[in-house]
């Protein structure tokens, strides 16, 4: 009997919470929120992660909508990777709730693992295997049929198909890492600093790849340290620091708000950047 009353109380609490959430959503309605009628791809509620006494992620709540590219920005140690790895079911959270495509990751971790593609910031591959063998192993893990060459084609690694993963350059490894996320053709893809360490050509080509994935209807959550990348790719951004989201908005809205606060750049902006010069001189085709 006392249990039932407790439940009632908790239900009441949750309804109160929902109302609060609604008001937050209403506040956010001024922003261009997509597909408000469909369920968000990811719902994160009051997520917390402590390592002993240090708080890595502090009471995070955010939604990622279907079909968008959602960027998480923040300095090193802000908690970006920790947040991603909790949603990816790699790390245990301390408290809070995470739903991926409506599935609670605590209750359905295996189902969640099946519908997501993961590119880890640092990830190695089974030694002494060539790229095709390595991709085939992932197809066994996800129990899917793949055309390994077609996947390598999308990351421009066809000519390395028979090379060992150990022999790839840093940029090639990064691309191969993204290739492994495509094996299960997931609806939700996590990219943790996908372009770190890449040359400008590879970076731009990866941007095209990511845009192509979005055009195919995939939802993408990514972290990056490059602001131009965030501006170019992301529909919405969450800016994190010290385990907290400071603000979530669209890139343009962020810039507009900053200008509204009276911000002016000390130097006039050049009409071209050094990167534009570099790309103009060296071309934009894949390297290494």
């Amino acid at each position: 009997m006392p249990k039932i009353t407790k439940n009632k109380v908790s239900i009441k609490n949750s309804t109160v919470k929902d109302k609060k959430d609604n008001t937050i959503v209403k506040n956010q309605l001024s922003l261009p929120v997509k597909s408000s009628n469909s369920r968000p791809m990811i719902q994160v509620k009051n997520l917390k992660k402590n390592y002993g006494k240090t708080v890595a992620v502090d009471d995070l709540s955010f939604d990622v909508f279907k079909g968008e590219i959602f960027g998480i920005l923040g300095p090193n140690g802000a908690g970006k990777t920790t947040t991603l790895e909790i949603i990816e079911t790699i790390l245990e959270k301390t408290s809070g709730q995470v739903l991926v495509d409506g599935l609670d990751i605590d209750i359905y971790p295996q189902q969640v693992k099946n519908i997501i593609g993961i590119q880890l910031q640092t990830s190695g591959f089974y030694p002494k295997l060539n790229l095709i063998e390595s991709l085939n192993l992932f197809s066994d893990i996800y129990n899917v049929r793949i055309d390994a060459m077609a996947i390598l084609e999308t990351v421009n690694l066809v000519e390395k198909a028979k090379s060992y993963v150990d022999s790839l350059s840093g940029g090639q490894k990064q691309r191969f890492s993204i290739a492994t996320t495509l094996v299960s053709d997931p609806d939700l893809i996590f990219l943790d600093e996908p372009t770190t360490g890449l040359d400008p050509q590879a970076r731009r080509n990866l941007w095209d790849m990511i845009k192509h994935l979005k055009a195919k209807g995939k939802t993408i959550v990514m972290t990056t340290h490059y602001m131009d990348e965030a501006q170019e790719l992301c529909d919405r951004l969450a800016i994190m620091d010290q385990g907290k989201i400071i603000e979530t908005s669209t890139p343009n809205q962020f810039i507009a708000e900053l200008l509204d606060r009276g911000f002016t750049k000390p130097q006039p902006t050049l009409l071209a950047s050094l990167e534009d010069v570099f790309l103009d001189l060296t071309g934009s085709h894949w390297r290494d």
């Binding site: 990816e88 079911t89 790699i90 295996q110 693992k113 099946n114 993961i118 880890l120 640092t122 990830s123 190695g124 591959f125 089974y126 030694p127 002494k128 295997l129 063998e133 085939n136 192993l137 992932f138 066994d140 893990i141 996800y142 129990n143 492994t180 299960s184």
Partner: protein, 360 residues
């Protein structure tokens, strides 16, 4: 289920390919043991200081003088038995160099080990001497006191290689299982390979089973090659031929399971490369030295012997030698008891390994 099986097969094939392509696996698992086998195969133990003679009599009249003349020389070790059959078994097993049966006052039968001609001629020399003495004492001139009826038996010759090969098998299985599992697991964990696998829907047991089976398969393959090399170079063969070979394989598989478990245990404990070598050697070296790899445990002091009886390698070696040297079968206690001990070790080690196993 289909999904689980596919993961298992995937890991099995992947891991086997990777093992096949890794030179150090061949170096430690095959080349070093072969070098051991070749070195010890050429160590000859023909220069045995003692000559073992078995005595049995139907007629006791000339028994005492014959026995005394053999015992007077320290070269000979005399075994007396009432049963002729028991002594002839010893001869066939290679435990005796010659068997002397005194049929009557005038008839002595010598059956000798055909593989030890020098030893046999020493025995014949002693018999001739005593014959001359008896002839003189009996004042017979024209005929000898007794006739020596000589025959030869192709008895089994236990060479050092026959003893040491099971030891080398055990050592190579233990080393490649423990070091192989520990290093590869630590590397996979450190390089975030496991993290990536388990970020996907990978079943831990499918992964462990696939890895273990491929490693086990690889080690068994290397040991078959090793046995083939020993058979080719030194004519090594288990007592019961192919049956014995198959029985040795069964024991190898059981030993492998035990030693792979030790590998997982070390991999679970070790947080870095530097830890693996000392921890693994702590398990390997005492067994390598004491548990009968190069010399029989019975030659150790008794207190040390009782310590070695706890070691899995000792029981592995016991079982293999029982099959290959004594011709024991799997269902005989000589093999069953060591196998039982190995299984108990497996249970202990895997329970402990499951507690310390980490993906990250």
């Amino acid at each position: 289920m289909q999904r689980y099986f596919r993961q298992f097969i995937g890991f099995f094939i992947t891991s086997f390919k990777a093992l096949w392509r890794t030179p150090s696996g061949w170096l430690f698992g095959f080349l070093f043991p072969v070098v051991f086998v070749v070195i010890f195969g050429y160590i000859s133990n023909d220069s045995q200081p003692t000559i073992r003679v078995g005595l049995v009599y139907d007629d006791s009249s000339i028994y005492e003088p014959i026995k005394k003349s053999f015992e007077s020389s320290s070269i000979f070790v005399v075994t007396e038995k009432q049963e002729f059959n028991s002594l002839s078994d010893d001869l066939a097993n290679g435990d005796l160099d010659g068997l002397i049966q005194i049929k009557s006052k005038t008839e002595v039968i010598l059956i000798s080990n055909a593989n030890k001609p020098q030893n046999v001629s020493s025995i014949v020399q002693v018999l001739d001497n005593i014959n001359t003495q008896l002839t003189l004492s009996q004042n017979q001139v024209e005929s000898k006191a007794f006739e020596i009826d000589k025959s030869e038996l192709n008895s089994r010759q236990i060479r050092y290689i026959d003893f040491v090969l099971p030891g080398i098998l055990g050592y190579s299985i233990m080393t490649s299982a423990i070091f192989g599992v520990a290093y590869s697991f630590l590397t996979l964990r450190k390089d975030n390979v496991l993290k990536r696998f388990f970020a996907g829907p990978t079943k831990v047991s499918a992964f462990i089973m696939g890895e273990s089976l491929s490693r086990g398969f690889f080690i068994v393959l290397q040991n078959i090659l090793l046995l083939a090399v020993a058979a080719f170079l030194f004519n090594f063969s288990p007592r019961n031929g192919l049956t014995g070979f198959a029985e040795i394989m069964v024991v190898i598989v059981i030993g492998l399971i035990t030693f792979l478990g030790f590998g997982y245990l070390v991999a679970g404990f070790a947080k870095s490369d530097e830890v693996i070598s000392p921890v693994a050697n702590l398990i390997i070296l005492p067994q390598f030295i004491l548990a009968g790899t190069f010399f029989a445990v019975s030659s150790l002091p008794v207190w040390l012997q009782s310590i070695t009886k706890f070691m899995p390698l000792y029981h592995f070696n016991e079982a293999i030698r029982a099959i290959s040297i004594d011709g024991a079968h799997l269902h005989s206690n000589q093999v069953l008891i060591p196998i039982g001990v190995l299984i108990i070790w497996s249970i202990v080690v895997y329970t402990a390994a499951a507690k310390v196993f980490r993906v990250r």
